[in-house]
């Protein structure tokens, strides 16, 4: 299961950026999601999925990478 679609929906809802404008493999920073906005976005993700994303992933730059991390945390939670 991939969280990508849900993250895309959340970005659209929260920041008004449609999925067509944010290539999952492109840098989110270049789209204006800087480190501060990303911190807030991860907070929203945690609320939405009831998970805790570890804060030792400073290199995440694309939505696909973020989705993979969320997948991993959600899978660990289920297990």
């Amino acid at each position: 299961m991939s969280s990508l679609k849900e993250l895309q929906d959340l970005i659209q809802e929260k920041y008004g950026i449609p999925s067509s404008e944010l290539d999952p493999n492109a840098s989110m920073r270049e789209k204006g999601l800087d480190s501060l906005a990303l911190a807030e976005f991860i907070f929203e993700i945690e609320d939405k999925f009831g998970i805790e994303v570890p804060d030792d992933n400073p290199n995440i730059d694309t939505l696909a990478e973020l989705a993979a991390l969320v997948d991993k945390v959600r899978a660990a939670k289920v297990a």
Binding site: K14, Y15, G16, I17, L36, A37, E40, I42, F43, D47
Partner: protein, 401 residues
């Protein structure tokens, strides 16, 4: 000496975001003070801003930006546009931001405290910090010179303006964006101000007229929120680029009572008033209007009157006085800047906004108040705007046509 002139005005205030419309509303005596937070144990009133953040920010840009910074960015941008400053006209490192803010992002703190699941938004600190408004203004206008915040309670933005004027006069910057913002209308802060016993009492349905500066029946102020910024540059710089000059900031004075944290002091205020006159090279009789600090507290208004009487002497009867806080509330850190804009508008329009809601003047506040309908002032050449802060710091700005 090269004069410091005002070339741009921007407001995001309880009376809207157009300085002309704001001034017209004040001339009509329209109060923006309304009841707020009916759930609180004691009735509360405030003047709030009808603000559409989407005009200034994308949703993404709003991440971690408290309302106090949003209002500041909008007001500073309006001032910048009013000054007709085009991109690249001024080197970014020659632009400074001088912003007053008394408290910072109250809404961010309140949200953090009230989060019901114990989870605090990660950007609470950068949203709350009192220098955030100045930084957001700097990022928006690409100001890379001095970007400074003055947190001196009710005198914050008046002092920010005076400091900006000094920087312009000393040649430290070519353009100064100066003013302030405050946005404290959240239940926790309103409760704190109620506990301070300085807010006006009012009967149901009478919130709009609750603030009555210099009146016998005055009982304090109402909180207001908003932001106001002005663009300052040297007269030479303004002339070279063909800018409209709204007014000259001819003088300023600042002093500290150094007597008590919250009790105002006649001599302390008089020192700031004298210094403003001296730095402008003017005499009391040259000044036709005073936009008073006038918080409508029992002690504050009489002390302010006595300070004016001490300095103005026989010329006091010719000084027209009004406190517009009766209509827009007390913007605290933003008050000095909003009232500076109103003072500049009075000079431009040669009209004086009323001292509203004063049916019977307190004999201890004997001043030549501008009555309810406002006044024409075709001879007005110079006007002052006073701001006296908790902490004892006093600031007076003196504008001329």
């Amino acid at each position: 000496m090269n004069a410091v002139v005002v070339t741009g005005l921007g407001v995001v205030a309880p009376h809207g975001d157009d300085p002309h419309a704001l001034f017209a509303a004040l001339m009509r005596g329209e109060s923006a003070i309304r009841p707020v937070f009916p759930e609180l144990p004691k009735p509360a009133a405030a003047a709030t801003v009808d603000f559409d953040a989407a005009r200034w920010f994308t949703k993404l840009q709003l991440a971690g930006v408290d309302r106090v910074s949003q209002l500041a960015v909008a007001a500073a941008d309006l001032a910048w546009r009013d000054a007709a400053l085009v991109a690249d006209a001024v080197a970014p490192e020659r632009i400074g931001v001088y912003a007053g803010c008394g408290m910072g992002g109250a809404a961010a703190l309140e949200t953090a405290y009230r989060s019901n699941n114990g989870r605090v938004p990660p950007l609470t600190i950068p949203a709350f910090m009192p220098n955030a408004p100045a930084s957001h203004v700097a990022m928006r206008q690409r100001a890379q010179g001095p970007v400074l915040t003055y947190s001196v309670a009710c005198a914050s933005s008046s002092l920010a303006i005076a400091e900006a004027a000094k920087a312009v006069r000393n040649g430290e910057v070519d353009v100064a964006i100066a003013g302030g913002s405050e946005s404290l209308i959240v239940p926790g802060v309103v409760l704190a101000w109620q506990a301070m016993q300085t807010l006006a009492h009012f009967s149901p349905n009478e919130a709009a007229t609750a603030v009555r500066p210099f009146a016998a029946d005055r009982s304090g102020f109402a909180l207001g929120e908003g932001a106001a910024f002005l663009i300052f540059e040297s007269e030479d710089h303004a002339r070279r680029r063909g800018a409209t000059m709204h007014a000259t900031l001819a003088g300023w004075g600042s002093s500290c009572d150094a007597t008590h944290l919250t009790k105002p002091d006649v001599e302390g205020q008089a020192r700031a008033l004298r210094q403003a006159l001296k730095s402008a090279g003017l005499q009391p009789h040259d000044v036709g209007y005073c936009n008073a600090h006038g918080t409508a507290t029992r002690i504050g208004d009489t002390v302010e009157r006595d300070a004016l009487a001490t300095v103005w002497g026989d010329a006091l009867d010719d000084l027209r006085v009004s406190s517009t806080k009766a209509l827009h509330g007390h913007l605290l850190g933003g008050a000095g800047a909003l009232e500076a804009v109103i003072t500049v508008m009075a000079l431009r329009e040669q009209r004086l906004p009323p001292n509203a809601h004063c049916a019977a003047i307190d004999p201890a506040c004997a001043l030549n108040l501008v009555h309810e309908s406002g006044a024409q002032a075709s001879q007005l050449r110079a006007a002052i705007s006073s701001s006296f802060a908790f902490g004892g710091t006093n600031s007076v700005l003196l504008f001329t046509r």
